[in-house]
């Protein structure tokens, strides 16, 4: 470079960054403009333009450093140059507005994987979450989609696929935790009468309150499920598959439809997939939102166009499923786990988790928790890690009380078991279950009797009514629980609840009924004293059951702090408050309907609840 060969002859050196970053930000144009302007002002003997290597400060490019003086100009545009050359290099007045000023002690931005919410998560089923456009199959393919399918179709026999899934230790993610490989083997071995047809089905009838794992997978990465099902179809020998998804999930239904069309267009579904001679296609069946249709036999009946009611098992769907043919039914999350197991092998997968529960589980974290959301964690992680590290703890400084896992079929786990590791066995031992993955966090303000009543009212509503224990039993239990929350409970109620619960568990036809008493049984096991307080003292310790509350007004606070503001009296719909402005107010207990409005509107804390 000529300029650098004769450095002493110049007054100013203009170091123009010619690193890749600045060049893509047009630093060459800046250089040309500088040289033009310098010539225009006759400064070419005094000022030299020097291209330099990357300055390292690419985010502020294009960059110009003036020497001597180290004056740092940033983010220059060609139209800044005439002004800059005239002001600074001709008249000697540096242009402040083009200079870099370091940002005032801005908060550093953490690295995503250092944020506790993300740090402890291991993404397998959710591997593509937030990364791909679910309506573009190419993006799924770019992230490794359909790689496992190619392997399964070209390199693996059905037996090999099944043994890989068996060795991986994958268990059903819909809740019961049946070993997936074993299920596949049973369907493969089953003999299909008249024609040998078999089916694969995806259970996307997610209905637990507060659960949205399946919805999220279908919305974010539908190809994961399609690929998993196609691999499963090859393993068991099916040519047709169904995805049963709730119609209340319009986005999931839509994206699934787009994904199926795109897969079909590419020949990843249909006849002779990828030229391997394997035929398979999938249809969507939309469910109308009956909770019981998540039960496999009811779901299959619904696909066939019959009333969505369960039937006794055996025969299990593996023997006699859709239209009496052997049918392999797995949950959305289970199917989404299949491609990585085939791609990376059973050994990798079984290296994650505990001896009996392998891999990861997706949970939806809801209720009284700071980080509401969807998390995927390795099996064996403790509830404490999920609630406090990932979930960020309980809002408003409240104390953690219990967590409901497994939805209305599961149970409450109290705070003294917060170090319980998450796996199928330990959750069952605690009286709850893995379930499909809803996790409802409750704080100290939650009444456990009210929670049990809520879940019972849900299962009672959703009971299909086919069998008596579930239809009548849940109603009887709900009536007792409602009575207790209204202060009308008796000492006989608790043994009666337990007897009913055990009878329903033993005699109900399907999983809905068999598990419906679980929330009552676990709250009785861990929070019996709360039931007793409702029955004996007619008190709700959490102050949730309003019929048991007594509202009073502290006359001193009312006058001294609130100057008898009268807001409570004006808001009382039953005219149960007496008093005038500037005077103490009082509640007439005989008129009070316990609505709690006075307590909510008093700005001075004068209204007391006991």
């Amino acid at each position: 470079m000529d300029e650098q060969a004769t450095p002493t002859t110049y007054r100013l050196y203009l170091m123009v960054c010619a690193g890749t970053g600045c060049v893509s930000n047009h630093s060459f144009e800046i250089r040309t403009a500088l040289e033009t302007e310098i010539r225009k002002h006759g400064l070419e003997k005094e000022v030299s333009v020097v291209p330099t290597g990357c300055n390292g400060f690419c985010e502020r490019g294009p960059i110009l450093v003036v020497q001597p003086g180290d004056i740092f100009y940033q983010q220059l545009t060609v139209k800044d140059i005439p002004h800059l050359v005239e002001e600074h290099f001709l008249k000697g007045r540096p242009v402040a507005k083009l200079m870099y000023s370091p940002p005032a002690a801005k908060a550093p931005i953490p690295v995503l994987n250092d944020i506790p919410f993300f740090k402890k998560q291991v993404l397998i089923a959710l591997r593509n979450r937030g990364l791909i456009d679910p309506e573009k199959i190419d993006e799924a393919i770019a992230r490794g989609g359909y790689k496992a399918l190619v392997k399964a179709l070209t390199e693996m026999s059905p037996e090999k696929i099944i043994s890989e899934v068996t060795l991986s230790g994958l268990r059903g993610r819909g809740g019961a935790g049946f070993p997936t490989g074993l299920k596949w083997q049973l369907v493969r071995n089953a003999i299909s009468a008249n024609g040998g047809r078999k089916y694969v089905v995806c259970n996307g009838d997610e209905g637990d309150p507060g659960a949205f794992m399946d919805r999220s997978i279908l919305e974010a990465d539908p190809h994961a499920v399609i690929e998993g099902m196609t691999i499963g179809a090859k393993a068991i020998g099916a040519t047709e598959g169904f995805i049963y998804v709730r119609n209340e999930y319009p986005l999931a239904v839509e994206r699934l439809g787009v994904a199926l069309r795109q897969a079909r267009d590419y020949g990843l579904l249909g006849a002779d997939i990828l030229g391997t001679g394997f035929d398979f296609d999938i249809q969507i069946k939309r469910g109308a939102g009956a909770f019981v249709c998540g039960e496999e036999t009811a779901l299959l009946a619904s696909i066939e166009g019959r009333l969505g009611e369960p039937r006794p098992r055996p025969p299990y769907p593996a023997q006699s499923g859709l239209w009496g043919k052997p049918t392999c039914i797995n949950n959305v999350e289970t199917w989404a786990n299949v491609p990585p197991i085939i791609s990376r092998g059973s050994k990798w997968y079984s290296g994650i988790g505990t001896p009996t529960s392998k891999g990861t589980k997706v949970f939806s974290l809801v209720g009284k928790i700071n980080n509401t959301g969807l998390v995927e964690v390795p099996m064996g992680i403790t509830l404490r890690e999920i609630i406090y590290d990932i979930g960020g703890g309980i809002p408003n400084g409240k104390a953690f009380k219990a967590v409901q896992t497994g939805g209305p079929s599961g149970g409450c786990i109290p705070k003294d078991q917060i170090d319980l590791p998450i796996d199928y066995e330990s959750l069952s031992a605690a009286g709850s279950m893995m379930g499909s993955g809803g996790m409802v966090i409750m704080d100290e303000d939650t009444c456990m009797v009210d929670v049990a009543r809520y879940f019972l009212s849900f299962t009672h509503d959703e009971s299909c009514g086919k069998c008596t224990p579930c239809r009548e039993g849940t109603k009887a239990m709900l009536d007792i629980l409602t009575r207790i929350t209204e202060g009308k409970g008796t000492e006989d109620d608790l043994p009666l609840l337990e007897e009913l619960a055990q009878t329903i568990k033993d005699t109900a036809l399907c999983g809905l009924g068999k598990t419906a008493p679980n929330p009552v049984l676990t709250t009785l096991r861990y929070f019996r004293e709360e039931y007793e307080a409702h029955i004996r003292q007619k008190k709700c310790p959490a102050r949730v059951c309003r019929q048991l509350n007594v509202y009073t007004i502290d006359p001193q606070i009312c006058v001294e702090k609130g100057r008898g503001c009268d807001v409570c009296r004006r808001n009382c719909s039953s005219e149960a408050i007496t008093g005038r402005k500037n005077e103490a107010h009082a509640v007439i207990q005989s008129k009070c309907i316990k609505c709690g409005v006075c307590y909510d509107v008093c700005a001075f804390g004068a209204v007391k609840v006991d």
Binding site: E59, A107, D114, G130, Y266, T372, L374
Partner: protein
């Protein structure tokens, strides 16, 4: 469309992989990913997407790629976007409003300076497969 062979699938994979990477000196300066699961949409992601499209149009930045994806996991902090400048690590922004994304568009996408006040974190999640 003719059915793919296994070789075709690999070609698509390579090509799409290349296209999804926002490379320095590549065709686009930035990719903005709006997280549009049900949670994001319920929190206002459609308005965020519309605001970004408007910003892109009015500033004439044809080299900014707008795309959408599903839930990123942290539903309580939706709406959420991920901004990936060419050759740089992606940045996740949370709890957005239309005014905030306009500011992010101006300062980060156009100006190259991360708006730390709205940023959750930089980089990507660890994914297993």
């Amino acid at each position: 469309m003719p059915k793919l062979t296994i070789d075709d699938l690999e070609k698509i994979r390579e090509e799409a992989e290349r296209e999804m990477k926002v490379r320095e000196g590549g065709a686009c300066r930035a990719k903005i990913n709006v997280h549009m699961g049900t949670c994001g949409i319920a929190a206002g992601a459609r308005g965020i997407m519309a605001a970004l499209m408007k910003e892109k149009g009015s500033r004439g930045l044809d080299d900014v790629l707008l795309t959408s994806s599903g839930c990123a996991g942290l539903c309580s902090q939706e709406p959420m976007i991920t901004v990936e400048m060419a050759g740089q690590a992606p940045v996740k922004y949370v709890n957005l409003t239309e005014a905030k994304v306009r500011e992010i568009f101006e300062k980060h996408v156009q100006g190259g300076v991360i708006v730390s006040a709205y940023a959750l974190g930089i980089g990507s999640e660890r994914t297993e497969p």
